[in-house]
């Protein structure tokens, strides 16, 4: 293995389809119109010296190193800023050019400290490379330019340093922050020799607007901006391409290694989801893999009040298997179940559901996707016929109107958020429907055309009234609807939405959105060109979550915004493999590929290959498992890579359920909250330690590759396999590729997928089969998967969770950029420097009424329970609405959320809880009791140190 060096073409690829032919150094070459001479030369393998150009950024033309001669043209134009022309004859290397380039280089080097041997970028420095490329041998101006005195190093960012003395003022960092990331945190301050890069208003990076995406560090050709890990360890010597294990964007990274040590994660330019960009989590927050809290030895105990006993793998697996066998003998085979993880690979998830269906002999398998995107599955399957988003991420580049509803892409899906912002800066229009004034509503060079600041819980009212405008103002794309959709259903739907009660004027009483604003947004969506809807958990996590998804689908069909680039309905998935875990049959009623367990033919296929009967009845969902546990009919649960206690709603009910179990097996990296109630702890492996695949929000299947041996001894799929064998159900896979082969053999949409193909193609978007051997970037092109698109009536039914005199405020929940889900990983990295604790955002008016000041402790109380946390006074919320995150177990925000859930899928209603907020002076009784219990439950026999409760 060696270090993967990606070619830098100097300037971005031109999208033009028209080709231009020119001659460079005597060789004829054809490239798309609009390509730079620099890029055209590189495409034929000729590297023109360059410093300020890189293909992630638009050309800038400041360093003057890339000069060329063009026959018939005077002077020596910069090849990065000069576009190719038909018949052009270009020379990239002449005596004059050599002389000029040396001169330029001499000036740079005379200003640059020459401590190359001890510089952290030694061997990975473009300045060095280019000095070599132009043949620089001496510097007439001497080496003691003005910058040499040490001008200090900014080490405030936990992950990278800024050392101005080494800066050549090429502006690549500034442009990366603007063009790639869209944060505009950097500028060049000062002039001439004094000019230097400055974060925001000459602040330290950490105090500036910087969100630590790393784009500037990657763009910097010198060691001025450099990863601290490279400074500590040295430059990497080999690299492996893998996929980020954090969010549903699915960024591809090069894991750059020195031996078995990860030196850095560099975003991979060929990654089709991220196109070379990253966010702070994937780029920098991988240190949890070697955090001291990580458990690497299996542990067992009889009672959850006992301290843990470390033991061998054999002992732990035997202990677990015996317990499960005993439970099934005593209470019946339906008394046990399993939960798959959206953080694990497709292969691991598939194996857990196989274990449940074939070895346990029931369908009691569910997934953490239940609590986020199960309504997407139901809603899109009903209307379009398939449980997935319709587009790839590239599609946004062709969108004219972006509608974001219930999603906060700049925090939740940062790399896609950046791509979206780029398209917005290039002229697309924006509609944001969100109770909060999220960053997209107004950020540098981006401003929403319409912000529909709706009351939480009124999505259906909002979308139905948008449909009202579309239908009653004659904005329906009738030819699309007639050709592609069920016309009878459409007519019924149209007459329903056209009713006066669904008008924006009438719905305003529920949504709080002024009718005129709503009409404007609806008109823009229907008539502004290619319109695409992007949505997140603010859509799904409601009692009408599935209905909202269908309302979105209705709107897209009515306006013909489906089936081509630039349009579509796009769920932004939370965790890295939410899509995959759903595809892999993690739901209790569906086998892999979303096929109902009652389908005899499908079951037969599985039964034949698995050698065991598959139950034809749906199994229990997570909340129903807990109900059944409390009731005494459900006794054993195997949880892989998921902290259901912290992430699921109504914590107290979850605690009651978990503590009723006779055997809870938790497989995870850390002693997570759920593990407090576990009898068996099986240490899991990180994404750096396993092979497999993740499927991102675009249905893109991408490889995860092992770069270090599992610290716990096994990859997660191997552990499931051990358990299956101990239960008497043989599993003998020797590599995850064999599991994928089995998935492909059983699942029509995965028919063409294999590890070999993934190695060749890099990634594949399902469906991938005979009809679409290369995969499917855009779905429903000529026909919906279900045949005719189905319009569904979306009556607004207000949630039963209502504010009132006792609980006058509405709480909604979400996430922030630097932390991920329950935070088990990100809290164990320096990302906590950005987010030490969950805070309650409250409008100044509501705060003042309650005598609450910024950063005061407050008690947050709902019908379910109470917790305390600090208040942050913020105008991002409308009065009457408060907001918090759920990244920290100490807050236990889900003590407050209720057990209301989506009518179709039981996806919990996280986004609406009626609450009261009042000043407080410390943790609630529940928090104190829970802390004490956690401390006890985490004791490990023979280990003096108790792992502190967080």
């Amino acid at each position: 293995m060696s270090l993967i060096q990606e070619t830098d073409y100097g300037t971005p690829r031109s999208k033009s389809e028209e080709m231009v032919t020119l001659t460079i150094d005597g060789v004829e070459v054809s490239v798309p119109a609009g390509t730079s001479i620099m890029r055209a030369a590189m495409e034929m393998g000729t590297e023109i010296p360059k410093l300020c150009a890189t293909d992630m950024l638009d050309s800038f033309g400041s360093c003057r190193l890339c000069l060329v001669e063009i026959e018939g043209k005077a002077g020596t134009p910069a090849s990065c800023t000069t576009e190719v022309g038909p018949g052009m004859v270009v020379h990239t290397q002449t005596d004059r050019l050599k002389r000029l380039r040396k001169g330029v280089m001499e000036l740079y080097i005379s200003e640059h400290p020459l401590d190359c041997l001890t510089c952290s970028a030694n061997g990975d420095c473009e300045l060095q490379d280019q000095a070599g490329a132009v043949g620089l041998r001496d510097v007439r101006y001497g080496y003691d330019g003005k910058k040499h005195p040490n001008s200090g190093v900014d080490e405030s960012n936990p992950y990278f340093t800024y050392e101005p003395a080494k800066c050549i003022v090429c502006s690549r960092c500034v442009r990366a922050c603007e063009e790639v990331q869209g944060t505009f945190a950097l500028t060049i301050a000062g002039r001439g020799f004094d000019s230097r890069v400055s974060a925001s208003m000459e602040e330290a990076f950490m105090d500036s607007e910087c969100v630590s995406c790393g784009a500037c560090v990657q763009a910097c050709p010198t060691a001025t901006l450099n990863e601290k890990s490279v400074i500590d360890i040295g430059t990497p010597e080999h690299s492996v391409v893998t996929t980020c294990a954090y969010c549903g964007v699915g960024c591809a990274f090069k894991a750059e290694m020195r031996g078995e040590e990860v030196v850095r994660m560099l975003p991979y330019k060929d990654g089709k989801a991220n196109r070379g960009h990253s966010c702070v989590k994937g780029r920098f927050a991988w240190g949890y893999a070697s955090h001291k809290d990580r458990i690497t030895k299996p542990m067992i105990r009889e009672k959850v009040t006992d301290p843990w006993q470390e033991c061998s793998w054999e002992e732990a697996i035997e202990f677990a298997a015996n317990k499960f066998k005993g439970i099934q003998e005593k209470y019946g085979k339906g008394a046990v179940g399993g939960i798959t993880s959206s953080r694990c690979t497709n292969e691991e998830t598939y194996l857990v559901q196989k274990l449940v269906r074939a070895a346990f002999g029931n369908n009691n398998v569910d997934t953490c996707a239940r609590v986020c995107h199960s309504p997407t599955g139901y809603g899109l399957k009903t209307t379009f016929g398939t449980s997935a988003g319709t587009q790839d991420f590239d599609s946004v580049e062709y969108t004219d109107v972006i509608m974001v509803i219930g999603a906060n892409p700049t925090d939740g899906h940062p790399v896609f958020g950046s791509r979206m912002k780029k398209r917005l800066r290039d002229g697309a229009k924006l509609i944001v429907a969100d109770p909060r004034k999220i960053d997209l509503v107004e950020s540098p060079h981006v401003k929403a055309d319409h912000h529909l600041q709706l009351t939480p819980g009124t999505n259906v009212a909002l979308l139905t009234s948008m449909a009202h405008v579309v239908v009653t103002e004659g904005l329906v794309n009738e030819s699309f609807v007639r050709e592609r959709c069920d016309w009878d259903d459409f007519q019924e739907w149209a007459s329903f939405v056209a009713e006066d009660r669904n008008s924006p004027e009438n719905m305003e009483q529920y949504t709080g959105v002024p009718a005129e604003t709503l009409r404007g947004a609806a008109r823009l969506y229907a008539t502004g060109g290619n319109a695409a809807i992007y949505y997140g958990l603010g859509v799904t996590e409601h009692s009408q979550g599935s209905t909202t998804v269908m309302a979105i689908a209705n709107l897209a069909m009515a306006t013909g915004n489906i089936g081509r680039e630039g349009v579509g309905v796009n769920p932004l998935r939370g965790q890295n493999n939410v899509q995959g875990s759903c595809d892999m049959g993690s739901f209790p009623h569906e086998l892999p590929g979303y096929r109902h367990v009652s389908n005899d033919q499908v079951r037969e296929l599985f039964e034949e290959l698995w050698g065991r009967p598959v139950d034809n009845e749906p199994g229990l969902r997570i909340p129903n498992m807990m109900d059944a546990a409390v009731e005494g009919t459900f006794k054993g649960l195997y949880v892989q890579g998921e902290d259901i206690l912290q992430s699921d709603p109504d914590t107290k009910h979850m605690v009651a359920g978990l503590s009723s179990l006779e055997c809870l097996i938790v497989q995870d990296l850390f002693l997570i909250e759920t593990a407090n109630y576990a009898h068996v702890f099986l240490p899991g492996s990180t994404f750096l330690e396993k092979n497999g695949t993740f499927t991102n929000a675009e249905r893109r299947i991408q490889p995860v590759r092992k770069v270090i041996a599992p610290k716990n001894g096994y990859e997660d799929w191997e552990i499931t396999q051990l358990l299956a064998n101990a239960l008497g159900y043989p599993m003998n896979y020797s590599h995850p590729s064999e599991i994928m082969d089995e998935i492909a053999a059983l699942t029509p949409t995965f028919e063409g997928v294999s590890f070999d193909k993934l190695d060749k193609e890099g990634s594949i978007q399902w469906p991938c089969n005979e009809m679409a051997p290369e995969g499917t970037p855009v779905m429903h092109v000529d026909e919906f998967v279900r045949g005719k698109g189905k319009f569904v009536i979306t009556e607004y039914v207000p949630t039963d969770e209502k504010s009132g005199p006792r609980f006058p405020l509405l709480l909604t929940t979400g996430r922030i950029l630097s932390q991920y889900n329950v935070g088990a990983q990100t809290r164990r990295t320096a990302n906590s420097e950005w987010h030490e604790e969950d805070v309650l955002e409250i409008h100044p008016h509501d705060a003042e009424q309650r005598g609450i000041r910024d950063l005061d402790w407050v008690k947050l109380q709902s019908r379910s329970g109470g917790t305390t946390l600090r208040a942050k006074i913020s105008e991002r919320m409308a009065p009457g609405v408060v907001y918090t995150t759920f990244h920290h177990p100490k807050t236990q925000a889900n003590v407050v959320t209720t057990d209301f859930s989506d009518w179709a899928t039981n996806c919990p209603e996280y986004k609406v809880t009626a609450v009261q907020v009042m000043p407080s002076n410390g943790p609630s009784e529940w928090q104190e009791e829970y802390d004490e219990f956690t401390r006890k439950s985490r004791r490990i026999a023979g280990t003096p140190e108790v792992i502190a409760a967080e």
Partner: protein, 97 residues
Amino acid sequence: MSHSHVDRLVYMTNQIKDYFKYQRDADAAEEIADHLRLFWDPRMRRQIIEHLDKTGGEGLEGPALKAIELLRDEHKDPEYLPTTAKCDPSGGREDAN
């Protein structure tokens, strides 16, 4: 807010009803029953049928009550449980994926 178990099942059934009763082309009770066949574990269906037997379906509203009656009639024999849904949310092409 925590419901007792059977209350919760009743609540969920009524919620499902609140969707299907507005679908104009469909028989709401049949659709609700079908939803329960497709998504509910048999022990949940059994419990709500028991609730119907015991209380006459207390709390179940309109077509929700009728749906549970349909389920009960299907399995007069307590051991019998229907396996295949009558209608299919994917419009008859459930294997299209």
